[in-house]
Amino acid sequence: MGILNKILTAFRGGATEVGQSIVDANSTRIFEQEIRDAEKHLTKAKRELTDVMAKEMQANREVDRLKRSIAEHEGYVTQALEKENEALAIEIAEKIAQLDQELSEQQAANDSFSSHAVRLKDLVKKTERQLSDYQRQLSMVKTTESVQKATATITDSFASSNSKLLNAKDSLERIKARQQQFDDRLKASETLAEENSDKSLHAKLAEAGIGEQKSSANAVLDRIKARKG
């Protein structure tokens, strides 16, 4: 049974009460132990594989050496026969027979190392897959637990501070209202800034004697004098 199934079973079984652990601590420990075991197996299998591959290379070299030696001795036999030295030829042939025997033994050893190496490589692959699967499952269990505990922590904190999470619509309304207020204020201050810059332009125009002039005391006096006359 996969871990997801266990987690769902626990949820549906009602293990969602605050503070209640979703997967008991014991099964987490078993998981962690399984991971450690798998890691140990992996290290061992890898070390063994290195050994076997070294031996395979060694056996290979030996096979090559024996093959070369046999070819060489076969050459000697031909040469001995050419010189009609039958006795020597037989002696060399005996040596060749001995080398043949050694070769077949070495070849057998080599084959056995090769097949052992293939088996070990498969084992390493399988263990690596298993290990990453265990790690994935453990991380799921731990995350589930952590989220459960974090939720309990958050719930406790809100309960003890007497505040509560508002419902979604109200929260959004409040945030929107605040945003609107901020936008309004920004707009107001922009309008104000524009007005201010208008005023400063008026002041400059007046100074330069352009546009509507402010009535001064002299102007008033002139106006009254003109009316009298």
Binding site: K142, T143, V147, A150, T153, I154, S157, A168, L172
Partner: protein, 137 residues
């Protein structure tokens, strides 16, 4: 990486924030340490951050089961599934009887990435409530 390094970074940001948001962080003590991150001017909808062995989880609560219009529950689920991929960086989930949006980050994440995640999560949260409020009571 723990919630205190995150809190120190976010609280120290002030005007240097790259997201245009300011954050107020309050660690909450408990079995698992949780950081409550308030986005300034959005205090009603905080983001809760917890750090596990291999990930940083940022969670925001949307609404409770009791707020859902039960007659339109299936329709709401379908909308959530449809929105799940288009919604950047966050996903929908349910914890106990509460619907949430959450984002998970690697513990190797930089502070800028965490900051971005929080900002996007907060934006997503407001948008989701706005869009899906038709399914709420």
């Amino acid at each position: 990486m723990n919630i205190h390094t995150i809190a120190n970074h976010l609280n120290g940001l002030c005007d240097k924030s790259r997201t245009g948001f300011q954050f107020d962080c309050y660690p909450i003590d408990g079995d698992v340490e949780v950081l409550q991150v308030n986005v300034v001017s959005r205090e009603e909808i905080p983001v809760f951050v917890s750090v596990t062995d291999n990930q940083i989880l940022c969670i925001s609560y949307l609404w409770g089961e009791d707020e859902v219009n039960q007659a339109r529950r299936a329709e709401m689920f379908e909308t959530m599934l449809e929105l799940n991929i288009p919604m950047p960086l966050s996903s929908f989930a349910k914890i106990d009887d509460k619907y949430v949006v959450y984002g998970a980050l690697s513990v190797e994440s930089s502070m800028e990435e965490i900051e971005q995640e929080l900002a996007v999560l907060s934006d997503n949260c407001l948008e989701v409530i706005d869009e899906l409020s038709e399914f709420l009571n």
